[in-house]
Symmetry: C2
Subunit: 343 residues, 2 copies
């Protein structure tokens, strides 16, 4: 599909809605936050990953902590909606599980502010969940909604993992496109794409021997990025120890640049796409390449979003700066986090 690029639109004055910039002063431990160690969740269960000595101090047992979402959109025993003869009124039972994963015992850190070995623990846990849930479910969606602007209702660093008994629309489309490209060109589309971008350089944001982050040629969100390995990797479970360390490093570098762009904890939705699992584990999925999408909502400043409305909803995505302009801006930002800089 096409994206309408109108670079000159950034010139128009903005008199529209401004957002509240993200809260910068989050307490490390909040007795009322159901994601903090030792606290109780909506269903009365304790967040146990860290052994609480007393309120505010605790002995860390694990780095990450996973539990069932108390208000899951997908449930293993969802009822069958019944069937209808008419082709325009089709429905099916959607079954699955929804989990929440805390990245760290502290509420006042985010991935770019965490230590390397702590980010590696997050990646290991992601792989562990894909392994576990992907044993039976065809799709395991790992995603992070970061910031109130992205509908995230809790400042504690966390992500979600929703596994389903069906291949959702986006991965199904991704599967079709990668498959047809592979059949035509004999190489995984996203591996060829990464090589091209590494040579062309103009859309590269950060790179390392194993990984590459670019503002993709087809980006719709102003500062959207695509993070992918250079080697042909089907799933997050296939990453070697070195590649996981490399991933922790490039994620911290990318997210530091994001935070430095407007000197706020940068909001976004992100998530992983890899070859489907469950019954698809036995199939040939050579056309797939593991990758993560980052979709940040901001356009002009910490307070002015890109509104994907009217023309975008009804006709076609439209962007107000080119992917090359966005990549250059991000590329030129320092790799030291603004919060770590000496005043």
């Amino acid at each position: 599909t096409w994206v309408l690029v109108s670079a000159h639109r950034m010139k128009r004055p903005w008199a529209g809605q401004v957002e509240k910039p993200p809260e910068e002063h989050i307490p490390r431990y909040d007795p009322g936050n159901p994601l903090c160690p030792g606290n109780t969740r909506a269903n009365g269960k304790l967040v146990r990953s860290w052994f609480p000595l007393n309120s505010g101090t605790f002995k860390q047992v694990f780095h990450t902590y996973v539990f069932e979402n108390d208000f899951p959109a997908l449930q293993p025993d969802a009822p069958d909606p019944g069937s209808d003869q008419h082709p325009l009124f089709q429905s099916k039972a959607a079954r699955g599980v929804c989990k929440v994963m805390c990245f760290h015992p502290w509420s006042d850190v985010t991935l770019p502010l965490m230590k390397m070995h702590e980010v590696v623990k997050v990646i290991d846990k992601w792989a562990g969940l894909v392994e576990e849930l992907g044993a039976t479910y065809p799709w395991v969606q790992i995603f992070e909604n970061k910031g109130a602007m992205m509908g995230c209702s809790n400042p504690h660093p966390h992500c979600q993992v929703w596994a389903s008994n069906f291949l959702p629309n986006e991965p199904a489309l991704s599967d079709r496109c990668q498959r047809s490209y592979y059949q035509k060109h004999g190489e995984p589309m996203l591996q060829q794409y990464a090589r091209q971008e590494a040579e062309r350089k103009e859309r590269v944001v950060v790179e390392s021997p194993d990984w590459l982050a670019v503002v993709p040629y087809w980006a719709t969100w102003p500062y959207q990025t695509l993070l992918l390995p250079r080697r042909h990797v089907l799933r997050i479970t296939d990453l070697t120890t070195e590649e996981r360390e490399g991933l922790a490093d490039i994620m911290r570098r990318l997210l530091t640049k994001y935070d430095n762009l407007f000197e706020i904890s940068f909001p976004y939705s992100m998530g992983w796409h890899g070859a489907p699992t469950g019954p698809h584990l036995k199939e040939d999925n050579s056309h797939w390449q593991l990758h993560a999408h980052y979709y940040p909502p901001l356009l002009r400043s910490a307070m002015v979003k890109k509104f994907m409305v009217g023309y975008e909803m009804l006709a076609q995505e439209q962007r107000d700066l080119t992917p090359e302009q966005a990549a250059e801006k991000l590329r030129n930002l320092p790799e030291e986090h603004y919060k770590n800089r000496e005043n």
Copy 2:
């Protein structure tokens, strides 16, 4: 494509972002607003549709007023981006025009608060613009972003009209789906759909002899609606005088219900889809049926939106109440506007 429906999700508590409800006290005339009669726009030109006698009073010459967008995303002379040999790096020149259309000389009215004959004037002007721009351009997108929450930066009642030298993604998809359904079933998909919904009743919001508004079976936004004629109509230009009056009436009824839902001026993006124009005027477009989409962002209250984030962006649209629940709620609301009710 599929929509994930998880009706029970409305039960979860909401501690996330709340919006500022829309401003209820808009001055009828604001000397600083570039959409008010007699004022000057960014490019120094005067908004002339209403003849100003002196600031605040003016003789109404026309009801609606159309002018060129001062910061157009599409321009008739956009440069050619040049070509690239690689299949993943394709681009083309996108050309067109962007217009702004004011619905009324006053800033403090909206469509449901306007008089019937004033809404008919808006519909006539829509048809006039499709006639004029559609003579050459293959697609004329009429859309309204209403409310600051939908990126609208000016409270004066207005919409936009973007005409392009290409068929954008959404209408191209709509064209493909309607065409293949027509080939298979021998009847326009949306005409058959309207008949089915009129019989089934559970998703109907408002209806009249000529028109029908439903929360579509495939709705993704909580209170999304689809407005369509019962007769087979290809384009807005084909509506008879009676059908235009009927449309003005049903639009006012639908939008009154929207405003009454949370007793605010309800935000949304809306737009028209009809058979393509320009070179397509000579083709057989019997598979098309004219319709309008309404996409409102709110979910729980005047202040709590549905966030289309994480899972929605990466996997699949997910909704927190069924289309039938949404339709029932809207259907049961009074047809008298809350602002017109006696206190």
